[in-house]
Amino acid sequence: MKSESRLGWALVAPAVGVIALIALFPLGWTVWESLHQHDLRMPWLGQSFIGLENFAEIMRDPRFWGSLGHTGFFTVLSISLELVLGLFLALAMNRAFRGRGAVRAAVLVPWAIPTVVAALLWRFMFESEAGIVNAVLLDLGIIERAIVWFIHTTTSWVPVILADVWKTTPFVALLLLAGLQNIDKSLYEAASMDGAGAWWQLTHITIPLLKHAILVTLIFRTLDAFRVFDLIYVLTGGGPGTSTEPVALYAFNALLQNLRFGYGSAVSVVIFAITFGLAILYIKGLGVSLQGDER
């Protein structure tokens, strides 16, 4: 037994070593940096150990709390919309109809476009009075004067959320579609036989049986949305003011614009801790539901 476990450890050692090298080592280094004052641009300050002072500064910075709020808002709103729309898409794609393969491929197009390109497209549509969005809204008589979208907080969020929903709904739909295809068709037949309507079938068969797929989607999407960066960087740059700035942009700014390695590392550690916490929360949730099914 003992030698067997030793063999086991020997066999996983290379894998553990690789993980340690590419994941744990940089993580450890970042944590170490976060405990130091290290401003690349201000060598006269030296590079001293300052304990948790960087973290204290983060806690004192209203801009950080603002960015955390924006990230939460973006995550909740965009994922909610994506789940609802994604479910509709998945249900539609799950039906047998002519050209289904082509539709499934076509739906994926927005997801295949690089985020920066997609963000630029959306920016052009909303930018300036001559942008297509203003032109259409003016033509339809919905607005009387062209809106300058990127100078108000509320209107700045519109292209951000729309672009993310447009781009990511297909991905959500595909994950849900995979879940849908695992549901036994006979359940629906039996329900129909008993006179259950479409809505009852959706809420009592489809959604409960789709729980795993939904949870997996939520994990992927939450962790992604929480680290949103390029979309907002291109669309609003975090503005007006800093009212659409997400935490990733805040960290980028500290680390790569201001070259404050210590402080920026501390921000990264905070973001890591939050996403890690979220992941654990979800995995626990998923684990519990798995056990529930086995019983």
């Binding site: 641009r41 201000m42 006269w44 007006p240 003011g241």
Partner: protein, 377 residues
């Protein structure tokens, strides 16, 4: 080089964007790379690089600083020592449509009146004035000009933060008024950089424009501009109690502190900043010389697209942005707070108070207070 046959110069390409170039320099200098020996610096970087010990003081080479515009020397001086020589000058200009606005504005209020009059003419332009109002460095340069026009400053002589002074509040309130009350500046400028403003002006949509000298020549080209021959430039007007102010830009040449051959590096700088070279730059790329005497030289008026007298007046009203090693972060704070006030997320007074508070925190954190008091005369 013909004049220095023993010197061979290798040109290293760096990124065009100022932010990217700055980042690259900081990485090089942190790694103590001695190559390139001569660095081309943006006007606001010199104090930062000097305080970090990344560039060498030039005083031992005894450059004749009296030949340059004083503001350009001030911007290159840190702790009473000169660290860079101005290579060319960039300066904020007020462009004016001569066919719509018959005379130069005598004050900021006069500028508003002239802009409105131009807008209300039949077939007049949609906008009275366009400027750089997006949340980036350009917004700070625009603000500096209004701030000086009202007699305000960001840091005073002792390095104290005075950006929340009544003068500054008046300046920012004035800028906001041109957007929301006077209707001369479109709200779009709050997302605009230099180029968007240029397009508007060049297509005949604005009576005034705040911009740098660079678009002057292209806008006089009838094949791409609708305003060719119909505009001129001048300095920004002042308000009562202030003075006409132009933001100072431009590039400097400084010696990398890790170079192996400082003497040769200085000879290259001396060559590149010589009058002949500056005349050539003016003719080839339209950049303004930083030597005052050249503006009396007849050769400059043939070399330069901009009228020389106007250019000289603007440069003489030029004010450096705060000469401090923490400028980049100071500017970031200002960009955010100014933008917040202009998009009406905050009142001008509250925004400037918040800016002052955050700049003071920055000064404390970076030990600037001590550095500045040490260097105070």
């Amino acid at each position: 080089m013909r004049e220095n046959p023993d010197l061979r110069v290798r040109v290293l390409r760096t990124p065009e964007g100022a932010t990217q170039r700055h980042q690259l320099y900081v990485q090089w200098l942190n790694a103590r790379v001695g190559d390139p020996d001569v660095l081309q610096l943006d006007v606001v970087w010199t104090p930062e690089f000097a305080a970090a010990g990344w560039i060498l003081p030039l005083d031992r080479f005894k450059p004749a600083v009296g030949d340059f515009f004083p503001a350009t020397i001030e911007a290159n001086t840190w702790a009473n020592e000169l660290y860079g020589l101005p290579w060319f000058v960039d300066v904020g200009l007020l462009y004016r449509r001569t066919d719509l606005v018959p005379r130069e504005p005598s004050s900021l209020d006069d500028m508003v009146a002239l802009a409105r009059a131009a807008q209300s003419r039949p077939g007049g332009p949609r906008y009275g004035i366009v400027w750089q109002g997006a949340r980036y460095e350009g917004l700070v340069t625009t603000f500096i000009e209004y701030l000086g026009a009202f007699g305000g400053r960001i840091l005073d002589e002792q390095g104290r933060v005075v950006v929340d002074s009544p003068e500054a509040v008046r300046a920012l309130t004035f800028m906001r008024k041109t957007l929301y009350d006077d209707g001369i500046a479109p709200l779009d400028v709050l997302t605009w950089h230099e180029e968007e403003g240029r397009f508007a002006f060049q297509n005949g949509n604005a009576a005034f424009m705040r911009n740098w000298p660079y678009p002057y020549a292209a806008m006089n080209d009838t094949s791409q501009s609708r305003v060719a021959g119909k505009f001129t430039v001048g300095p920004m007007p002042a308000a009562p109690g202030g003075r006409s102010t132009a933001a100072l830009g431009g590039n400097q040449l400084a010696i990398n502190a890790y170079t192996k051959s400082p003497e040769a590096a200085y000879r290259l700088i001396a060559y590149l900043t010589a009058p002949e070279q500056m005349l050539e730059r003016a003719a080839k790329v339209g950049q303004y010389p930083s030597r005052r005497a050249l503006f009396d030289d007849g050769r400059l008026s043939t070399a330069l697209a901009t009228p020389v007298e106007q250019a000289r007046r603007a440069i003489e009203s030029a004010t450096p942005r705060p000469v401090t090693p923490i400028y980049t972060e100071l500017s970031e704070i200002l960009q955010i707070e100014l933008h917040r006030a202009l998009v009406r997320q905050a009142e001008p007074e509250a925004a400037l108070r918040s800016a002052a508070l955050r700049i003071n925190t920055l000064v404390d954190r970076t030990g600037m207070r001590k550095l500045m008091s040490k260097t105070a005369p």
